[in-house]
Symmetry: D2
C-alpha cells in the first residue's frame, strides 16, 4: 500500500517538499466528530519550527479541508486536507542534484525511481509531508478525546539531556499538549536548547527520544500476531522520517530483568483491573490490558548539517564532497513529537474501529 | 488482517498450543523454488528446546506440506504447512482457568474473546505457533539464498552477557545458521547458559537481544512512508511473542550522536557504493542503500516462572495468587532466533516481489 | 492478496486437486458462534456430485477442523479446515501434460507459473478447492442465521430451462437449503436433468444461472465506492470457477427500463421502510436499503467434455488435438449453488463486521 | 479500504458534489511515465455533459495535479489530482433534505452516516466524483499505451438501440477513444439520442450497456481465485454508480451454450497462441490467455427524473412524494464510458505491476 496505512481507518499521504501542496486523505473515521479548525491549526503550530533551534523556513500551513467535513463535523466519508507549500525557495539545484546527502534518501530514491523523483528539498521524502499527518491526526485526536482516550508525548531525552519521568499522567499529558517544546520538567528545556544551539553553532545537529503514553484505551483491543498493537503502532512510527527505534513498556531494558520482575502482577482495585508495574506497556499478547500504553521512539539527529561530508555523485558513480547550504533544523525531536501523537491517534482509531465498528468513535 | 501479513508474499497463521495442529499458509512466493524438506526440518530443530535451558515439552515437529509444492519445487500457489501438536499434556486446567498469568495474554484474550478462547497452554497466543513461521520461512530463506541474500541473527545479549560484534558478516552468518545457540563468540555461550540455569534454579527466567544482519539486498528496495523497510520488518517482528523493542542500525544509541557522526558517508569502491559507517542500518528513507540491513529485537524474559505471583481471577474479578507448575522455558532468546530469521525472510520476499514482480525470486 | 479475500473477516484458500488436501483459513469471525459439524457435512454434501448428472469422482469430504474451534464454538482466532483428497486417480498425465484443455486454465497457469504448477486435475484451479469455501462458509452461514440473515440460491436457469421466480422468500429459502438440486419448482428439475443427460450422452456439458437472495441485512451496511456491496460480492463471486457474469437486482434487464420504472419507490409500512419494486436488488449507492439483496451468477458449461477438440501443445507451441477421458461433470450449476451461498456468507460477515465490529455476529 | 482499491497500484477517492473539490490519489504507478495535461483534459471532456442529452451543469474541470508529477513525468510517488467544484448551485435543500430520491443513496447514506453526510447533490455518492477517476485514469491509460495495451469501450446498447459489434479491434478502439458518444456505427447514434430525448421530454431517463475491449495484455497475468482478472475488474466496475451488471466474454449468454461451443479452441498462428472464439473473454482461470479481454457493464437509467414519485421522509419515517427539480442527465451511459475505461486502466496497471514489478510499465 506504500503511502497508505490502516484497515478500517486509513490515511494516504501525498506531496513533495517543493510541489504545490502536500496532503493526506483520512478515510473510515466515524461520522459526527466535531472538526475544530482551530485545534488543527494549533496542532500544526506544534510542528512548526521555533526560534533559533529550527529551520528558518516558516510555512503558514494554511490547510484546506477539501472533503469529508460538513457543517463542522465529519461526514464519515474521506477527509482530504491539503497544505500548500508557500515558502519554497526555487534555488538552483543543479550543482548538488546528484550528490547524495548522507543520512538522506537522495541516493536510495534515485535508485528506486531512476532519476524521475522530485529531488528538490527531499521531495516526497521530506519531513514536510508529516504536516499532513498532523492535520488529519488532529481529527483522530479529537475523536479519541471524546471517548476519554488521551495521547501525550514528551521529549524524554534530547541532546544528551533527560526529562523526568511521568508521575501524574492525566495532568501531565494535558500540560504537554500545550507546550511547543514538550518536556515534563520545564527546567530541562533550557539545557536541551543550550545543547542544540551548541551543535547548531558547529553546523551540526542532535537527536533524542520521544516517550508516548496513551490512557483510556479499553481492555481487549488489538489483535493476535500480525495486528498486535505493537505491530500496528511500530509500522506507523517507523514511517516517520528519522525514527530508528521503537520500544514498548520497558523495551530494551526489559532484557536485563528476570521474569519475576518483568511480569506485571495484576490486582483489582475498586473493580478495576490494574497491574503493579507496567513493564509490558499496557499490552499483553498484542492486546490492551487497560493499563496505559507506553512506548518510546528514537529520533536520529537531523541528517542535514553544515559541515563538509564525503559522499558520492550517484550519476557519475564517483566520490565527491558536499557542504550543505540551505535551511535546516539542528534538531527535529520537538517538532516530531506532534507527528508521533498524530499518527498514533490515527492508528488507534483504526484499531478501535476494527474492534467496535465504524460508529463507536462518534457515539 | 489479524493473522496475515504481506502484500505480494503473505503468510497467514492458525492454530493453538493444544489443538490438533498449528500451521501457516505462505502465498505469493515465486514458482520454481526448491523446497528442501531437510532444510525445513533443520530450521525447525533450531527452534526446538535444547537441554537444560528449555522446556521439557519436546515436539517432533513432523510437518506436513499440504499444498503448493510439487515435485520438490514451489508451484507459485499457496503453500500450507501444518505441524501436529503431539506432546500436549491434557492436564486439568480448571484450577487456573481464570487466573491471569502475569506477562501472558490470558486476561487480554479473555477480554477480547469473551471466554471463548482456547486457553490451554496459551492457545493461539502460544509461542508454539511460531513453528509455522519457521517451517514456511525456510522456503523464503531458500528463495533469498538463491539471489545471494543472506540473513543471520546472533544472541547479542542474553542473561546479562554480551556476545561480540559482527566482524566478518558472510562467514559469521553461515556459521550462526548452523548453531543451535547462536553466538558469534562461542566462549560467551557458557556464561549465558550458566546465567540461564541460575535463573531457572530459582524458578525464574531471563531475556536478551537478537541482532540480525541481512546482506545482499539490492539498492532501491522498499517504499516511502508506510511501507518503509523498517515499517514492514518491525510490523512482523513485534508479532513475535516477547519482542518489546526493535531498532535499526544504531537504533536508540543514535540519539546521542551528532548528525556529523550519525550520518553514513558514502563512497565508491570498485564501482560499488558503500558507506564508511552503517548507523542507519542499510536503510535511508525507508529504502535499501546496498549496505547490510541491521536491526535488533529485544526479547523479554519468559513470562512463565515457577515463583508465586499476585494476580487476578478475571472471572470473579478479584485478587488471587498463582504458582505455575507445568513445563516452561527459563529462556526463549535462543529459540526465538530462527523465528526472527524466518519472518524476516518472508517480509523480505514480500518487499522484493513488490519491487521486482512475482518471478524475480525464482529467476 | 491472491488467495485471500476480506478485510475484517477473511478467507485464505490453499490446495490442489490431486495434492494431500485442500483447505481454507477463515479469520476474523466472532467468538462464540456454534460450530455444527453436521451442518458443515450437510453443506459439503450439497456440493457433492449427485447421480448420473455428475462426475463419478466421489470424495468423502472428511473435513478436519484444525484450529479456531473450541468446545464446539468459534474462539475468534483463525479457523483452519482441511479436506483430504482421497479419491485421486494417479493416472499417467504424460500424454496430455502440455495439451491445453479449452476453457480450462492449463495454458494460462503454465504461462504464469512457468511449468511448475501442479497440473494434475487442474491443480490449484480445480473446482475441488471450492469444498474449502463450503466448509468454512457453513460457519459464516450459521453466524448470519443467528442474526436473522438468510441466504438462499436457486437454479433459475439450467440447460435452457427456467425455474419459477421467488414468491415467498423466507419459506422458499429454507426449502432450497435442503435440496441437493435447488429449484423452487421441483417440476422443472426433471426437465433440467433430462437436458443435462442429453448433453452428457453426447459427451457435452451445459451451464446455467444461479439466483441468490439475502434477507435480513440491516439498513446502512456496505461502503461507498470501492467497498460497495456489489463490489465486494462480485469480487468473490467471480472467483468461483465458471462464473462469467454477475448482476444485481434487475441487472442487465434494467438497461431497457426507464428511470421511472427502474427506480424503486420507497414507502413506510408499520414503521418499516420498504420499496414497491426491488430493481436495485436491495442496494443503493453500494449500501443496503433493507430490501432483500438479489443477484444472479452466470455459470458457464463445464469445460471438460468428451468430444475431440482442437487445441495447442503449449510446450512445443504447436497445434494439436485433445479428447479428454477421465471423470467429469456434464453440469456443475447445481453443485456451484452452495459455493455461491458460502462465499456470499463469508463476504457478508466481513461487511457486517466492518460496520458493527468484531463481536456483532455473536451477540 | 472503502474509498481505495488496488494492491500495487491503488486509487483513493475523496470529495462531494457540492464541496470544495473532488479528487483522487493514484499511488504505485511507475516513475517516468509522461503525463500529458492535454490528454487528461481530453479524457475529462469525454465525461462532460454534451448538448441536449445531458445535465446543464457544466463544470470546467480545471484539474490541478498537486503531487507525483515532476518535469512532465510521473515520479513514482503518489499523484494527487483535485478538480474544484465551480458550478454548484447553492439552492435551498431544506424542503427535500429528508426525502429519499428513489434509486439514489439518500436513504442508505442517511442510515449509514446518521445524518452527518453531505447530502447536497448526492454528496460523496455523486457521479461527479468519477471525474477524479478519469483524471488519474488518464495517466494509467498513457502507461498502458506505451506497452501496447489499448482499452476501448462502446455503447453497445442504449435506450433500446444496439450498436454493431467490434470487427476490427485496433482501429475501432482508436476511433472510439476520440468520440464523445462512443458508438462503432455512427448511424445508431442518432437513434439513441432520439430515444434519450424522447425520455427526457417526459422527464424520464434511459440506460444502456457499455462493452469494453482490452488488447495487448500479455499471457499469464492475473491471479487464481480472489485476484482473478474478473474479480479485480468487477470489483472496480461495480463501484461506478449505476452499474448493476458485469459480464465477461459471452457472459450470461454463455449459459445457454454447450461446453463444446462455449470452449474456445486454441491454435498457434505464426508462433502466437490464439483461440477460434473468445467466449471466455480472454481469461481462463482468472488469468489472461492473450486474446482480447472483453466485458460488458450494465448501466441503469439515471435515477433522477422529473416525474413525481412516491417515497419516504426518512427523518419522520413517513410516506411522502417527491418531484425533483434541479439539473439532471436523461442518460449517463455515454458519460460513464470514459469512467469505465479509466478505472479499467488503473486496475490493469495494478494487475500488471503485481506480476511484473513496479517499473515494468515505464520500461
Amino acid at each position: 500500500m506504500k503511502n497508505s496505512i490502516g484497515n478500517n481507518v486509513s490515511i494516504t499521504l501525498f506531496g513533495e517538499s517543493h510541489g504545490d501542496a502536500i496532503g493526506a486523505v483520512l478515510d473510515g473515521i466515524a461520522p459526527g466528530i466535531t472538526v475544530d479548525r482551530e485545534f488543527i491549526a494549533k496542532q500544526l503550530n506544534l510542528r512548526k519550527p521555533i526560534g533559533e533551534i529550527s529551520t528558518p523556513r516558516k510555512e503558514a500551513d494554511n490547510f484546506r479541508i477539501l472533503s469529508g467535513v460538513f457543517e463542522g463535523k465529519t461526514t464519515g466519508t474521506p477527509i482530504c486536507i491539503i497544505i500548500p507549500n508557500e515558502n519554497t525557495i526555487s534555488k538552483d539545484y543543479s550543482a548538488t542534484r546528484f550528490l547524495a546527502r548522507p543520512g538522506h534518501a537522495d541516493y536510495t530514491a534515485f535508485s528506486k525511481y531512476h532519476g524521475f523523483e522530485d529531488y528538490r528539498g527531499g521531495g516526497h521524502f521530506s519531513g514536510r509531508v508529516t504536516a499532513a499527518i498532523v492535520a488529519t491526526g488532529a481529527i483522530a485526536i479529537s475523536a479519541l478525546q471524546k471517548k476519554g482516550i488521551k495521547i501525550g508525548t514528551h521529549i524524554s531525552r534530547c541532546a544528551g539531556i533527560n526529562d523526568v519521568e511521568f508521575t501524574d499522567l492525566e495532568t501531565q499529558i494535558d500540560s504537554l499538549n500545550n507546550k511547543d517544546f514538550a518536556v515534563i520538567d520545564d527546567s530541562v528545556k533550557e539545557k536541551m536548547i543550550e545543547n542544540i544551539l551548541a551543535a547548531k553553532k558547529e553546523g551540526d545537529s542532535v537527536g533524542g527520544i520521544l516517550e508516548t503514553v496513551i490512557t483510556g484505551v479499553p481492555v481487549g483491543v488489538g489483535e493476535p500476531w500480525f495486528d498486535s498493537i505493537e505491530s500496528m503502532l511500530s509500522h506507523a512510527l517507523f514511517s516517520i522520517p528519522a525514527v530508528k527505534g521503537v520500544e514498548f513498556g520497558d523495551g530494551f531494558a526489559i532484557v536485563d530483568k528476570r521474569g519475576s520482575s518483568a511480569n506485571d502482577e495484576f490486582f483489582v482495585e475498586n473493580g478495576v483491573v490494574k497491574s503493579n508495574t507496567n513493564n509490558n506497556g499496557g499490552i499483553n499478547g498484542g492486546i490492551s490490558n487497560g493499563m496505559p500504553i507506553i512506548f518510546r521512539s528514537a529520533v536520529k539527529p537531523t541528517p542535514t548539517i553544515h559541515i563538509k561530508q564525503s559522499t558520492i555523485d550517484f550519476e557519475k558513480n564517483e566520490n565527491s564532497e558536499l557542504l550543505s547550504a540551505g535551511r535546516h533544523d539542528p534538531c527535529i525531536v520537538h517538532r516530531a513529537r506532534v507527528v508521533v501523537d498524530s499518527i498514533t491517534a490515527i492508528v488507534l482509531c483504526d484499531i478501535l474501529s476494527t474492534r467496535f465498528g465504524t460508529d463507536w468513535l462518534a457515539n
